[in-house]
Symmetry: C2
């Protein structure tokens, strides 16, 4: 590791936000560097509380997050915000616009904002997001907010790191409950009916209550939850109405988040959650590393050319070629 | 391999369509069986000509394929049709309806139709499609048509096996050219302006000509094409208008397809194409096999639990854990 890194890491651990920004850029550009950075800082992580936030377009996520962050900074908390857009690299611009608007709401000293678009990151956007979370965690952020714009499988992966997952809905938008994909619904800890001043806020709450009752049986019996999402067992999702403009009910929201945090810690669920997070992170890293090895092998190896020739002659088939490569990689068949 | 398989495979190689149907179902349900089947039949494959067809909804794909197939059966060709829907398992019903309508157009003796929806196939839908192509190929289909409904990255993967890729457009549908994603555009060999009786067919052709001229420079210089899509180098995509109801211009279309086939064979491009197809297939199989091994390892291994404990204690980080698992797998670091 170069001297420049060492210096940056020292400054990171002292809490300097600019060092965090610099290290995040380095980690994003090169996975080897990311690995070195995480190696050095991992033992200083694990103190931040991670909040995942998503919601349909129009649910007012930016203003909501601004108000939430303002509340936390009033409590002298240091906040990291990671805005992840898995859908497309092209919307990066619009997202950035939002971020600039958001930034105007608070002093920069205790708030760090980073946008991450899907630029075909090596090893996936959720792995890259994990790295950023750890850097901000080591930077002594008390709360890290991970916001995503979409509502698909990518979000579920990204939210595997979140302690509390918040989903924003708005009154009126008839079928926004349906648009939130099933996978997200099941990992939501707190439903927020934002823009509570609009007509139909109470109806939206009633719809949510009904949906939760319907889903409960399914939820607690679902195979899916046994492992990855053990953390939400026994926790009944809370519902809260908010007004992000006036700040109404944000104290209540903060209390609910604190209650969820306490639940995680006192029920011991947080231990499962930590183990699962380590598992899913390691799996992601592993898939990346193996894919890299295989692609390297396909580029360089004379053996591969030889195998392809054999398949061309039809003395073997692609399945057998895959087996030969597994042998070539030396993978232990009895593990 | 059980006796029942052996018998089925004998009948498959004799050209019995029902044996193909049975083997495809067996292969879809269990990848080990798929592997065994492909092992046995691979040396009898490589004779079918594979045509990939896609197009925007409303471009009349079903009727187009019916007419195309009718033309081929008139030449005593045996045809396999694989309808792939990568977008969602839910549209399976609609797709099937289309297929039933399509089936009414021809005698069943020489035509085989199979719908494949994305049911979370192990190793991916494109790997599963590859298996079906091979089974139909060994079943002595002369032409295999792979139709997909979407226009995204999945189609590009699925079309890696196709000798000729056809994209359907219709007059009037103003921006359907834009909706065809860039990745598909670049692997298209023949553009079909279907429903040529509608107003604006010639304008659509003119738009395509213009687009192709604009793209030519980019296309021939593109890095992307060096490897995976070497087959389209030197081939200038052809454009043809068709009327699927009257059959107008289908003789012309068949000639263009034959011309493209001849181009592939005489230019030697087909050799590159075959090598690339083997590479991408093997990579897909390999990724599946490794993922399976890793997931098995995560379920069974006490070592993994031990590593997770170490990460929990922060004596190692997830990147180091991934390295330890690579060691555990015994993967040769110097390949």
């Amino acid at each position: 590791m170069g001297n420049s890194y060492k210096d940056l890491i020292t400054r990171l651990l002292e809490g300097e936000l600019r060092a965090a920004a610099r290290l995040i850029t380095l980690a994003e550009n090169d996975i080897k560097t990311a690995e070195e950075i995480i190696n050095s800082i991992y033992k200083y992580t694990g103190n931040a509380y991670i909040i995942g936030i998503t919601g349909a377009p129009g649910s007012g996520k930016s203003t909501f997050i601004s108000t939430l962050v303002k509340k936390y900074t009033e409590q002298d908390k240091k906040i990291g915000i990671i805005c992840v857009d898995p859908s497309s690299p092209l919307t990066g611009g619009a997202l950035l616009g939002d971020r600039i608007r958001m930034k105007q709401h608070f002093s920069l000293e205790n708030v760090f904002i980073r946008s991450m678009a899907n630029r075909g990151q090596l090893g996936g956007l959720s792995r890259a997001t994990e790295d950023v979370i750890k850097i901000l965690d080591a930077n002594k952020c008390d709360v890290i907010i991970v916001e995503t714009v979409g509502v698909g499988q990518s979000e579920v992966d990204i939210f595997k790191s979140a302690h509390s997952v918040l989903v924003l809905l708005v009154p009126g938008l008839g079928d926004d409950i349906q648009t939130i994909k099933a996978g997200i619904m099941e990992i939501t800890d707190i439903f927020v009916v934002n823009k509570m001043d609009l007509e139909g806020a109470d109806r939206k709450v009633a719809e949510l209550v009904q949906m939760l009752e319907l889903n409960m049986n399914y939820k607690f019996n679902s195979e899916v939850l046994n492992d990855d999402f053990a953390k939400i067992r026994k926790w009944t999702p809370e519902i809260v109405k908010t007004n992000s403009i006036t700040g109404e009910n944000f104290d209540k929201l903060l209390k609910i988040i604190a209650k969820h945090k306490e639940f995680l810690e006192h029920s011991g669920v947080i231990q499962n959650y930590k183990r699962n997070r380590i598992k899913s992170e390691t799996l992601q890293i592993l898939k990346y590393k193996l894919t890299e090895k295989i692609e390297q092998l396909f580029k360089d190896s004379e053996k591969i050319e030889e195998y392809i020739n054999k398949v061309m002659e039809k003395s073997i088939d692609p399945y057998s070629m895959a087996e030969l490569i597994i042998e070539l990689l030396g993978i232990n068949n009895n593990v």
